[in-house]
């Protein structure tokens, strides 16, 4: 007969019996099996003596004075709550009638008098094994609960972090409609939106690998770059490059940001998109029902260096009936009861002309698809409406502020050579330096607009020799941008020089901006108003500069443009 039950510790038994012979006999047999034995003469004494730390198994007689075995068992079980200590009922031949009650009260097994040592040994061993497994499980359960509560609080922290990071610079736009479920946010989906100084609308939809805290932390630098650069008027290409740069330095090898950056340009009715690893987007016209698929054609961000990225930017000429639908993979993969994913077709089926809201249709259809089996709430859906009506724009114009810097006399100039122009749009940097010198922040948007227009004309028509009549058709429009990119990459000579001079004038000053290029010159009168001129909203271009500026004239065969901008302190009140 095996003497040792537990290699480490001597097991402890509590024997409860009102008969001293019974206690003695069972106690002796258990001691033979290497148990340390404590005895009690009735249920009450058993309860008084019972210490869960000092008991591995209880032998309980059924009929006893003061408190019987069944009631004592019930009370012991209550005291143990989740813990498990085996209780074996000691029964004589006539106690079969109690069996049910014994089990109900929490008994685990029975042993009949007279005792058989082999059966006693086998039963106690198997129950002790059960106790061991049970307490290990309880321990694990506690660990899991503790872990879960840490994780829950991390979820909360991540969600709060995310909210703050993203909300910090978010400029709501009536053109942007979105659903981002809490689970999607937790999974690292981000949506950023901002207007630029020239009233373009920049949008970023992203999906980080990893989730929770990790993704929230990584979304912080991405959001900072996006909002900071949008406010300074950088284009989505430069913003994408910079986000990629930051993330490449920051993220571990196996993490990246799949993202799409879109820019809606009110002036040209142009939608530019850079797609980096998100599922196909759809450009849908709710008037004609035409549906264009826009697949991802760049690497996700944060994987390779920006210098190797060679971003492909696409340009679409859009009308107010067109909407760009973007989503991350959660919605595509959402499964129904039979495991079929919602898929691209689930979305396409909802994109039909003349429906009041295809967006709502997609959500409704998705809910129906997922049915009763519990919604997977990892849903991100974004709709960018290409609506150019004036009430959707100019929402964030600053109220006039005072120019704090005393108007003074100064000049400054910069020259950008062809290789600088390839990698840099100089306008934001130049405008920032003007703001620093003369504190012209209240006029930032106007100055930005003027300088952008003069610079773009110099670059496109001066150095790159692009024909603006291309832009008069929708197909030519995309071709124009393609050609521009191509010629810019091939540009091997030439430069553009910027001269700024300022002097006090009345209650403000005069800023003269001169932009001169080394190209072949062009006839500014040949600049065809962009196709948008046919619409109710006329192209802003040169006409707008003429409105903003005191004067604008071209000289040296169109190679030099000079604009004078007069500013006055806003009247108080």
């Amino acid at each position: 007969m095996p003497k040792q039950i537990n290699n480490d510790i001597q097991p402890k038994a509590l024997v409860v019996d009102d008969s001293s012979t019974g206690r003695l006999l069972l106690g002796h047999m258990l001691e033979q099996l290497n148990y340390e034995v404590t005895t009690a003469k009735d249920g009450q004494e058993a309860l008084d003596l019972f210490d869960p730390e000092q008991t591995d198994v209880v032998f309980m007689d059924v009929e006893m004075p003061v408190l019987d075995g069944i009631e004592a068992t019930r009370l012991i079980r209550q005291r143990l709550s989740e813990r498990f200590i085996p209780i074996i009922f000691v029964t004589a031949g006539d106690s079969d009638k109690y069996l049910d009650k014994c089990l109900e009260a929490g008994g685990d097994d029975f042993i009949n008098k007279p005792f058989n040592a082999t059966i006693l040994s086998a039963k106690t061993r198997s129950l002790l094994r059960l106790k061991k497994i049970y307490s290990e499980q309880l321990e694990q359960k506690k660990e899991i609960m503790a872990f879960k509560s840490i994780e829950d609080s991390e979820h909360e922290t991540a969600a709060a972090l995310y909210e703050n990071i993203v909300a910090a610079g978010y400029m709501p736009s009536p053109n942007l409609h979105s659903v981002l479920s809490p689970m999607a946010k937790f999974n690292g989906d981000i949506l950023l939106c901002a207007y630029t100084p020239t009233d373009k609308l920049n949008v970023l939809l992203g999906d980080f690998t990893g989730h929770g805290i990790t993704a929230s932390l990584a979304s912080s630098p991405a959001a900072e770059v996006f909002y900071g650069m949008s406010a300074k008027g950088f284009g989505i290409r430069e913003i994408t490059d910079e986000i990629n740069n930051k993330l490449k330095k920051l993220l571990p090898v196996n993490m990246f940001l799949a993202a799409t950056l879109a820019c809606l340009d009110r002036e040209n009715h142009n939608l530019s998109i850079i797609t980096c690893g998100l599922p196909d987007h759809f450009l849908f016209c709710n008037e004609t029902g035409s549906l264009q698929t826009i697949p991802s054609n760049n690497l996700p961000l944060g994987i390779i260096n920006s210098s190797e990225l060679n971003l492909i930017e696409e340009h679409f000429h859009v009308t107010s009936s067109q909407r760009l639908f973007m989503f991350s993979d959660g919605i595509i993969e959402a499964e129904n009861e039979t495991g079929t994913p919602f898929g691209f077709n689930g979305i396409k089926d909802c994109l039909r002309p003349g429906r009041p809201s295809c967006f709502d249709d997609i959500i409704t259809s998705l809910n129906q698809h997922q049915g009763e089996q519990g919604q997977q709430d990892d849903i991100t859906l974004v709709r960018l409406t290409c609506d150019f009506s004036p009430d959707k724009w100019a929402l964030y114009q600053n109220s006039p502020q005072h120019v704090e810097v005393e108007p003074s006399i100064w000049t400054t100039s910069s020259t950008m050579d062809h290789s600088t122009l390839k990698r840099l749009n100089p306008v934001p940097t130049l405008v920032n330096s003007l703001m620093d010198i003369q504190g012209l922040t209240p006029f930032r948007e106007s100055i930005f607009l003027v300088l952008t227009e003069l610079f773009v004309n110099s670059l496109d028509h001066g150095l790159l020799q692009l024909d603006s009549s291309l832009k008069s058709s929708a197909e030519g429009f995309a071709q124009y941008f393609e050609l521009k990119q191509q010629r810019l990459e091939q540009l091997s000579s030439g430069n553009i020089k910027f001269d700024f001079s300022h002097e006090p004038y009345k209650n403000g000053g005069i800023l003269t901006i001169r932009v001169q290029d080394t190209g072949n010159g062009f006839d500014e009168k040949a600049l065809v108003p962009t196709i948008t001129a046919n619409h109710s909203f006329s192209g802003r271009g040169i006409q707008l500069i003429r409105q903003i500026c005191e004067s604008l004239h071209y000289s040296a065969n169109g190679r030099r443009s000079t604009a004078t901008f007069i500013w006055q302190q806003p009247s108080d009140g």
Binding site: D207, T209, G210, V253, N254, M255, F256, A258, C276, G277, L278, P279, D280, P295, S296, N297, N298, L299, P300, I303, I304, D329
Partner: protein
């Protein structure tokens, strides 16, 4: 999910069955650790891969990094159309040999 690998001369073939996602992480890491300097090429055989998520894409990037970012050092082969679609969305053809 299961990962098995076989070394033939300088080429290590790694076969991934079923779902290639975060649950594969540990096994994939072990495979990465087994790569020594004698391995010149890795073929990731996706014949029996059913699904790929973004953490799997991350693991492939780790593999590429382990092979010193040589473009032709890692080939992703035999992917089913739905798996290939995921690789294409991520434009991983720029980083790996796909066929």
């Amino acid at each position: 999910m299961s990962i098995s690998s076989q070394l033939d001369n300088n080429t290590l073939t790694v076969s991934i069955s079923g779902q290639f996602d975060f649950s594969t992480h540990k096994a994939f890491r072990a495979t990465l650790d087994s790569i020594d300097k004698h391995v010149k090429h890795v073929r990731v055989d996706m014949r029996t891969t059913d699904y790929l998520d973004s953490s799997a894409l991350g693991m492939l990037l780790l593999l590429k990094s382990k092979m010193n970012d040589q473009k032709d050092a890692v080939a992703l082969v035999n992917a089913k159309p739905e798996v290939k679609k995921i690789l294409e969305i991520a434009n991983f053809g720029q980083l790996f040999t796909l066929n």
